[in-house]
């Protein structure tokens, strides 16, 4: 399934309906049931965002845990309210994940802060109905599905571009759909986000989903927002989403193994990272 095919079908049916119908055809899942189950995931995302917002966390290795707290006590000089709430939420959920909190692995546990970041901000600032938010969430899922089918969502297979890159693309598409009901705009938003993260390596220090993952979530949620904003202004991705995804996959496959979640390359291989890991191992084992 390509985004182009989905876009074409959305000329006769709303985009989120197209995505649910395709799922039904493929997996035999009843669209009403499916919509309810997806709604349950979105409810967890909103509940946890509310609960974890700005909380100080005790993570498993102690490498992170206070970033969301710090940021939530800071008055932003540059960011608007939407970005500020989104950033705090993304940091909060990513740190909650590192502390064995409840999350939706959307699309993965390591990138689980991005989608909550944008949806919680929409929820707080735009007074949407739940159904409206869910429609956008389904569009995010549709983009993730195309990436999963054409390429990969796994950091071990494709680097961080496949995890947080996919999360950003999904968030950007859903965010634009909330305001403009267009598959083309959503596709452009997703393509613009993914292109900006092309080549991003997966380099967790010690292999743990803490450094650099948490701050990457906090940062990249802003890229998702700006990508949605660019696409909504009418800016198009010269390269269509399907081709961007194919290119991302090729880049992922050509990344050396040390840069794909092994904890052996990138920032995980720096002298400071090695020292930190020695300390943690001594403490844990």
């Amino acid at each position: 399934m390509t985004w182009k095919e989905i876009s074409e079908m959305s000329k006769n049916m709303e985009l989120h309906e197209v995505i649910l119908t395709l799922e039904m055809l493929e997996n035999g899942e009843d669209p009403v049931n499916l919509r309810n189950m997806l709604g349950d995931i979105l409810k967890v995302i909103l509940e946890e965002s509310e609960k974890q917002y700005g909380k100080k966390q005790k993570t498993l290795t102690g490498l992170t845990g206070e970033n969301a707290f710090k940021f939530s006590n800071y008055s932003p000089k540059l960011m608007g309210e939407f970005n500020y709430i989104a950033t705090t939420t993304a940091l909060s959920i990513a740190e909650s994940n590192a502390s064995m909190g409840r999350i939706a692995a959307c699309p993965t546990a390591g990138s689980s802060g991005i989608i909550p970041g944008v949806y919680y901000s929409l929820y707080k600032l735009f007074n949407p109905s739940f159904e409206e938010l869910l429609n956008s969430f389904i569009v995010s899922g549709g983009v993730g599905n195309v990436i999963a089918k054409k390429a990969t969502l796994s950091g071990a297979a494709g680097g961080c571009q496949a995890e947080i890159g996919a999360a950003a693309a999904m968030a950007a598409a859903g965010l634009s759909y909330f305001f403009i009901k267009s598959a083309d705009v959503a596709g452009n938003a997703a393509a613009l986000a993914l292109k900006s993260l092309m080549g991003l390596v997966c380099d967790p220090v010690g292999g743990f989903v803490e450094v650099p993952c948490v701050k990457r979530n906090g940062n990249i949620v802003n890229l998702a927002i700006s990508s949605a904003e660019l696409a909504m202004s009418g800016i198009k991705s010269v390269i269509p989403l399907d081709e961007v995804i194919d290119a991302m996959y090729k880049v992922g496959k050509s990344l050396p193994e040390s840069l794909r979640e092994t904890g052996e390359g990138g920032i995980a291989a720096t002298p400071t990272a090695r020292k930190l890991i020695d300390n943690i191992k001594n403490k844990l084992f």
Partner: protein, 215 residues
């Protein structure tokens, strides 16, 4: 159900392979006996043995063996809950041979009966149960599963299959004790059986466990 997998699952962090997968393997063991065992030993292999504390694999395994689901916030406090329940537990690092890097062997005991499950967390929260009570198998837990200890004599399997009223997807059978004439049969089913008690009453069936899928 791919959309559900992409936008979820709802789980307790931090890692789908080191936390969620580990919990699922050990929850499979819990569901085999249907209760928290009295005693459990987790033998950790490969990357499970290297990073289990940093990923909370130990707490996830312990939570699973007590029957917690993957989104249960108590997973974090699994050590405390195990103590409250009087569950005796230990973790050992062991080379389990040519197996997936994220593999665990779980030895557990309920009322004096010892069971052993081996499973691998193969990525994205997917698991593979590779051994049940010394019988090699390859279960994804995408099916409802029956595990039967039966008499190792002619027609035993026929009688068992005859009583199973739903479609069989996969079947594993192995002699486990020639002297005691015992065999172990593992059956993966498309849907749950509704006559479990009837199957348990077949004269050739010594033990019968039903592990319904729940993810």
């Amino acid at each position: 159900m791919s959309l559900l997998k992409i936008l979820g699952p709802v789980m307790v962090g931090p890692s789908s392979s080191h936390t969620l997968g580990a919990l699922k393997i050990s929850r499979f063991a819990y569901k085999l006996v249907g209760k928290t065992p009295d005693k459990v030993t987790f033998l950790l292999h490969g990357s499970f043995s290297k990073t289990y504390k940093g990923h909370g694999t130990d707490r996830a395994l312990l939570a699973g063996i007590m029957g917690f689901k993957q989104d249960d916030p108590r997973i974090k406090d699994a050590f405390e809950v195990a103590k409250e329940r009087g569950l005796e537990y230990s973790f050992e690092i062991q080379d389990l041979g040519e197996v997936h890097p994220n593999t665990v062997r779980i030895k557990f005991e309920v009322e004096g009966i010892v069971h052993e499950i081996e499973g691998s967390s193969i990525g994205g929260g997917d698991i593979k149960i590779t051994n049940i009570d010394s019988v090699p198998c390859d279960l994804s837990w995408d099916y409802d599963t029956l595990v039967i200890v039966n008499k190792d004599i002619p027609k035993a399997l026929e009688k068992i299959l005859d009583a199973i009223n739903v479609n069989v997807a996969n079947l594993y059978l192995r002699r486990i004790n020639a002297l005691l004439e015992r065999a172990l049969t593992i059956v993966e089913l498309d849907e749950p059986v509704d006559n479990l008690e009837e199957i348990k009453k077949i004269p050739y069936v010594y033990e019968c466990y039903f592990i319904g899928r729940d993810y």
